[in-house]
């Protein structure tokens, strides 16, 4: 079983978002960066599948500037076997990033390519499925259950109003959702071992693509609310508002 996980480095979800001077990206001053939480489900799945299989290799791949190496080390500390840094600036066009990842992963003889279902910075939600299409591999996104048996994968994903099960032959691509597993934290031994695990650097060039970020802005402040009235007597007025103005009933 050879498994690759594609990993993103993102600001901590609790970070306060401040728009940078360019007006198109956040101000990263003082912001803590972490492995993308959804990618941690993918890492945990990869490590656990290999543990269960008793053999194989788990490879973590990240595209980006040099600071992604720190994130790759965290994945190695969790238990991934080796890391690949595709060194280059990612594009705002997810398809271009997917091309670079697909080019690298093609020919890697992977049985399984895992992604997080989304990265909590740009919420792009596309890389995994695009890589699958580019490699002409079966794919399911946002899986909450994943089992491998006899060269086939069985997955489940949550859709509006229910659960959708699917299956396919390997190799395959899956993007991982919350609920798939509980990612392990790196152990002290893992952190020590990670320092000695291979981290290969491959320079890549990502095409600019056809997406331009025009602006990044904080959402408008909520308009000041109002007190509809006091006590049960105010309920009819509230219902009127919810039905006719807010249209949420």
């Amino acid at each position: 079983m050879k498994i690759a996980v594609c990993l993103r480095r993102v600001p901590d979800t609790t970070a306060k978002i401040v728009i940078g001077p360019s007006g198109t990206v956040i101000d990263e001053t003082g912001v803590k960066f972490v492995p993308n939480p959804y990618d941690e489900y993918a890492l945990e799945a990869a490590i656990a599948l290999k543990e269960r299989a008793g053999s194989g290799e788990t490879v973590v791949v990240a595209l980006g500037p040099d600071n992604v190496q720190e994130t790759l080390r965290t994945a190695l500390a969790m238990g991934m076997d080796r890391a690949v840094h595709l060194q280059g600036a990612a594009s705002a066009d997810g398809l271009e990033n997917a091309r670079v990842l697909a080019d690298h992963l093609r020919g890697g003889s992977y049985d399984l390519l895992l992604f997080g279902k989304l990265a909590v910075d740009d919420y792009g939600q596309q890389t995994g499925a695009m890589v699958a299409e580019l490699l002409e591999l079966p794919c399911a996104t946002a899986v909450t259950h994943l089992a491998i048996e006899g060269g086939r994968a069985k997955v489940e994903r949550e859709v509006e109003g229910g659960v959708e099960a699917a299956s396919c032959a390997l190799p395959a691509v899956f993007t991982c959702d919350k609920g798939l597993n509980n990612p392990r934290l790196p152990s002290l031994k893992g952190i020590m071992a990670a320092k000695k695990k291979p981290l290969d650097i491959t320079p890549v060039t990502v095409a600019a693509g056809r997406v331009t970020v025009v602006s990044l802005a904080l959402p408008p402040e909520r308009a000041a609310g109002r007190i509809v009235g006091e006590g049960a007597a105010a309920v009819p007025a509230l219902m009127q508002i919810l039905t006719n103005d807010a249209k949420v009933l």
Binding site: D12, T14, K16, G30, V31, K32, N182, P183, R184, L185, S187, L188, K189, I191, M192, K195
Partner: protein, 540 residues
């Protein structure tokens, strides 16, 4: 009105902190293990990695990442940074700005009287800084030198063999409220080392346990103060460093406030009070909230935004509270754990760093000769006693102590001490421990935050970044005979809303805890908990 005597309600230190179990077969073997990744521990690691690159050095830090539990005013004396990085210039250090002016005020509820800056408080040549930022930067330097930095791993107990400290055991992770393992359970890890350096910071539990076990006393008990701090984004820059005395502290409490510029857009503001205060209803957090509405500060903060909030205790006992021994068999204490804070100058960071560097020199020499035994580490004691750390602390040895009798007599005595270079009054002013100071039970003043300039404790804790798992087991050990009055005392003492009075009893909300250690000094004991718990300071 009654009295609360804190010592009657305090539990002893948990016994498991000195652990005689043989280290696990899986133990990680290091040459030197530093417990605590603050300025002291990281300076020790950096100096040691440079002078003895062949050593395997590990730094355990309880915060989820470096700096997230570090808090200080801070005005930093850059001398230790210069000594540790002789090839760098001041502008290379992660400091915010040089101190360009300073003012000291005596506050009344509505007025302020500018008073001459006491000589000990002059800050010309120093820099304002965020300690979190400094610690993160020091961590990068240490890692670049090959030091193994392990954030998210609190040390729970010292592993000992006979009288010798041989390592530590980390806390377990992933336990539920009943201490049962969940599916993300993390087994405790043992680490062994030839030398364990305790750099736990203020009121370190292992330092306390080791001293109790080895019966290492001090002339006076260590005294502590609690500081509550906020960082604000402000519309106009502050042009000077401000310190105040007097209001909003009660007359019989020792302490004061600060307000420092952190570059053109931010200020640090905070209030410190000695934990020997006499009024059980006194509340440092609420006092700071009131203080921000004082004319001296209100104009500065209005239109601004609270960015971050935090709190921490400070060891204030000074020279006479220093442990009689700073090292032993396999163990050394550096920084705040040892109490290297000079209260009159409000400085500790550069002493912490310097003590770490002195420890590094001793360790390098000792390990070259093959030992980490008590005799080979004792030269650290001599080095510290001959350093300016102890020299400076000796000069001001009675100054904080003089304030135990109240503010006015304290000011007069402190003035005489400065004039005489510490010789007045001769000898040592004996002090009771904070926990032995009785508290008057008084009805509290109610305070309603406006959520613009002033905030409740619950909201303040959010601003500390604390996102501790709600289902962690309690790490706080409550002592006996808790009455409603005691519960009220704890509720006011704790700045983070961990304690609430419920009827005549006490309700504890452990996830709120931001590791300030205030109640460990005069109330419920603090013990190490799951790694990464507590605050996530970025600006403190």
């Amino acid at each position: 009105m009654g009295t609360v005597l804190p010592v009657r309600h305090q539990a002893p230190l948990p016994a498991n902190m000195i652990c005689t179990d043989a280290p696990s077969d899986e133990a990680i073997e290091l040459d030197v293990l530093i417990v605590g990744g603050g300025p002291a521990g990281l300076s020790c690691a950096i100096q040691l990695a440079r002078s003895a690159p062949e050593l395997t050095i590990g730094v355990l830090e309880k915060a989820g990442s470096l700096g997230e539990h570090s808090l200080s005013g801070a005005v930093i004396n850059p001398s230790a940074l210069r000594a540790l990085f002789p090839d760098l210039h001041d502008q290379d250090f992660p400091l915010r700005q040089p101190v360009s002016g300073e003012a000291v005020y005596y506050l009344t509820p509505t007025g302020s009287l500018r008073i001459p800056t006491p000589p000990t408080m002059k800050n010309h040549g120093n820099y304002t800084a965020s300690l979190c930022e400094l610690v993160r930067w020091l961590g990068e330097q240490a890692e670049a030198l090959g030091v193994n930095v392990f954030p998210g791993f609190p040390a729970e107990s010292l592993l000992v063999n006979g009288q010798r400290v041989i390592g530590v055991r980390t806390t377990a992770g992933g336990l539920d409220r009943e201490r049962q393992p969940t599916d993300v359970y993390q087994v405790p890890t043992d680490l062994t080392a030839k030398v364990v350096v305790l750099a736990e910071g203020t009121r370190g539990p292992l330092g306390q346990a080791w001293r109790e076990w080895q019966q290492v006393g001090s002339d006076n008990p260590q005294l502590f103060a609690l500081g509550v701090k906020e960082v604000w984004d402000v519309a106009r820059p502050l042009d000077r460093v401000i310190h105040t005395m007097g209001w909003p502290l009660p007359f019989d409490a020792f302490g004061g406030s600060w307000c420092y510029p952190l570059g053109p857009q931010q200020v640090s503001i905070g209030l410190v009070a000695g934990l020997d205060y006499k009024d059980a209803s006194f509340d440092v957090h609420e006092s700071l909230q009131r203080m921000k509405l004082h004319p001296l500060f209100r104009g500065l903060l209005e239109g601004g935004t609270l960015l971050e909030w935090g709190a921490k205790t400070i060891p204030e006992g000074g020279y006479y509270a220093l442990p009689h021994r700073l090292s032993g068999d396999g163990l050394m204490m550096i920084g705040d754990t040892a109490g290297f804070v000079d209260v009159p100058s409000l400085k500790g960071i550069h002493y912490a760093m310097e003590s770490g560097m002195l420890a590094a020199a001793t360790i390098a020499a000792a390990l070259q000769r093959g030992g980490g035994d008590a005799a080979s580490l004792a030269s650290y004691d001599q080095a510290v006693r001959g350093s300016r750390i102890v020299r400076d602390m000796h000069k001001t040895r009675n100054m904080r102590l003089a304030f135990h009798g109240g503010f006015v007599s304290g000011v007069v005595q402190a003035g005489l001490m400065t004039l005489t270079g510490g010789a007045f009054p001769g000898g040592r002013i004996a002090m009771p421990a904070d926990v032995d100071a009785p508290r008057r039970v008084e009805p509290p003043e109610t305070f309603v935050p406006d959520n613009v300039l002033t905030f409740s404790k619950v909201d303040a804790v959010f601003k500390s970044g604390n996102a501790t798992r709600d289902t962690i087991p309690s790490h706080l050990v409550v002592g006996p005979d808790i009455t409603g009055d005691v519960a009220d005392f704890y509720a006011h003492l704790c700045p983070a809303g961990v304690y609430e009075r419920e009827g005549d009893g006490l309700r504890v909300n452990p996830p709120n805890c931001i590791d300030c250690k205030a109640t460990d000094v005069v109330g419920p004991r603090w013990t190490p908990r799951e790694g990464g718990s507590g605050p996530k300071y970025r600006l403190m």
